[in-house]
């Protein structure tokens, strides 16, 4: 049985269409990511899955249970971590965790093994008020609270947004561990590099899914040869590329600019042209496209 299935889901808020006609299926035990920027519709989708709002059209099931009709049963098997931190600031760490355990009729002790790898980092501060925790610690506590009733499926809405690169890496290691415990995880993120940590991903933009597959297949779906061009003066290089006739697209990517060429163009020809226009130290090499390259390509197609 699929862990989650969405059938033609649409959702509107007054005049704004947040989701239009989404369908997808998440397998039992899968780590599935929704990758997209703010305003793509990720949070609306998570709130529908978490039985908190009713979609304008379509339906969704988790483990065969309908998010509208079977919401009471579903809430027992869902662990939901909303994007905005939603624990009680005026309770201590331990009180928050205990509160969530009690709501679900369990105890911290009963499922301690499940939260231990995460909770042990914040346990030394268990008497501290939650409002006084650092960002990384709040995130770990929120995940512990979402896990304390041993859910079959975790819904994590942008758990790593605004979190530094190191803590993000740690958080994804925790998710891999939970996946190995057999928990299905649906997670969203605006950071495209995190997509590689998922079994499958959906690229989402303006309320529609642009692509859905394994990260590897999505990278392979890039339609053209892609090159990385580097030059010590990045801004001059960017300006020069924007007027270079043989360059179809040029997008800054960290220390290089990713470029596609008119089919049949010899990449060295571009280097020669750029050098002739006064740039020195230009180098070019063919590269494997990343998720963000594909995302940009799909976004441009839709526009």
């Amino acid at each position: 049985m699929a862990a989650a299935e969405a059938y033609n889901i649409s959702h509107r808020y007054a005049k704004v269409t947040a989701l239009s006609n989404l369908s997808f299926s998440v397998n039992d035990g899968e780590l599935f990511g929704f990758i997209g920027p703010d305003g793509a519709g990720k949070t609306t989708l998570f709130r529908i899955a978490a039985t908190l709002i009713i979609p304008s059209e379509g339906k969704m099931t988790l483990f065969g249970l309908d998010t509208v009709n079977d919401y009471k049963q579903l809430r027992n098997i869902i662990g939901y971590m909303p994007g905005r931190f939603s624990l009680y600031y005026d309770l201590t760490v331990e009180e928050n965790l205990n509160f969530y355990a009690t709501i679900f009729g369990t105890t911290i002790k009963e499922n301690y093994h499940l939260i231990e790898p995460i909770y042990k980092h914040i346990e030394p501060f268990r008497k501290r008020l939650t409002g006084r925790l650092s960002g990384g610690m709040k995130q770990k506590l929120a995940l512990s609270c979402a896990l304390i009733h041993k859910p079959r499926i975790l819904l994590l809405d942008e758990p790593t947004t605004g979190v530094d690169a190191v803590s993000r890496t740690e958080f994804w290691a925790i998710l891999s561990h939970l996946k190995n415990e057999g928990i299905t995880i649906i997670v969203s993120t605006p950071y495209m590099d995190e997509a590689l940590r998922c079994d499958r991903i959906a690229l989402i933009q303006n309320g529609t899914i642009m692509s859905i597959d394994t990260p590897q297949n999505i990278r392979r779906s890039y339609g053209q040869k892609l090159y990385a061009v580097i030059c010590p003066d990045k801004y001059k290089l960017l300006l020069a590329l924007s007027t270079e006739p043989c360059a179809l697209s040029s997008e800054p990517f960290g220390d290089s600019i990713h470029v596609t060429l008119i089919p049949g163009t010899d990449p060295q020809q571009l280097v020669t042209a750029l050098s002739a226009s006064g740039l020195s130290g230009v180098m070019i090499e063919e590269i494997v496209p990343g998720i963000e390259d594909v995302f940009l390509e799909l976004m441009k197609k839709e526009q």
Binding site: G36, P37, D38, G39, A40, S134, G135, G136, T161, G162, V163, D164, A165, V166, S167, R168, T169, P190, Y191, M192, D193, Q205, K234, Y235, L238, E251, P252, F253, G254, D255, E292, F295, L296, M299, K300
Partner: protein, 246 residues
């Protein structure tokens, strides 16, 4: 030729009770430079930025921003621009009203504000939409507008605190092109980000860890020195040395 310094920091210390948030920071930022300010959550970045913007006083040390000493924060505020990730424009005012409000705060006259507003809106391909309420604009456009407003009064330096958080990849790149363009006009850009690829766009980056500056150089020089292929790898390597020992 000596490059003009826009920020000079020497031995900056900021304490909150017994907690040392900034522990003897020393660095300079030059005119027209894009300066990346990185660090883990809680490393002390926000504390330092607040001091540089004149919102907080150092416990000790010397801080000069745009030629003004940190002991005169009100003078500093007049000479800088600032844009934060969360709050920058008033949602229930129109585009033009926001520009006029910020221009006015920085002491510009309507005579100066009007022609510049036209120029700004034309640049953003937004000339017909000056009467639009901010809340009805898409996030990406809002962020580009917020940046334009932050440099509207031609400050010597602009501080950008996670300006591209959650922004789509196309807008994120357009935003950085605006940063490049601004820096090429001689405005210093001081920027924080959690996107490590954006760190590579900076002329120099500094990395803070536990209240101290642990690295400061161009991204290429730092990558070479630490033998890493990206700033991200470098970041992980030098902000979590203690983890590797475990």
């Amino acid at each position: 030729m000596e490059r003009e310094k826009v920020i000079e920091v020497e031995g900056l210390v900021k304490k909150f009770g017994s907690f040392v948030a900034n522990d003897h920071l020393t660095f300079d930022v030059y005119r027209g430079e894009i300066f990346g300010f990185l660090g883990a959550n809680g490393a002390g970045k926000t504390t330092a930025i607040r001091i540089l913007c004149g919102l907080s006083r150092p416990t000790s040390g010397r801080v000069m921003v745009a030629g003004i000493d940190a002991s005169r924060p009100e003078e500093i505020k007049k000479r800088i621009g600032y844009m934060s990730q969360r709050f920058s424009l008033y949602e229930d005012l129109t585009v033009t009203e926001n520009i006029e409000l910020y221009g006015g705060i920085y002491g510009m006259t309507m005579k100066e504000i009007r022609p510049r507003t036209d120029m700004l809106l034309r640049k953003l391909s937004f000339i017909e939409s000056g009467d639009t309420l901010i809340k009805s604009l898409p996030l990406g456009l809002r962020q580009k507008l917020a940046f334009s407003v932050a440099v509207f009064h031609d400050p010597g330096i602009v501080f950008l605190d996670e300006p591209t958080s959650g922004v789509d990849p196309i807008t994120r790149r357009q935003f950085w092109e605006m940063i490049y363009e601004t820096a090429s006009r001689g405005i210093t850009v001081f920027v924080t980000t959690h996107y490590m690829d954006e760190a590579e766009y900076c002329d120099r980056v500094t990395i803070m860890s536990e209240g101290k500056i642990v690295a400061l150089d161009s991204p290429a020089a730092l990558r070479a020195r630490y033998g890493t292929s990206s700033v991200e790898e470098l970041f992980v390597k030098i902000t979590r040395p203690q983890k590797e020992k475990v």
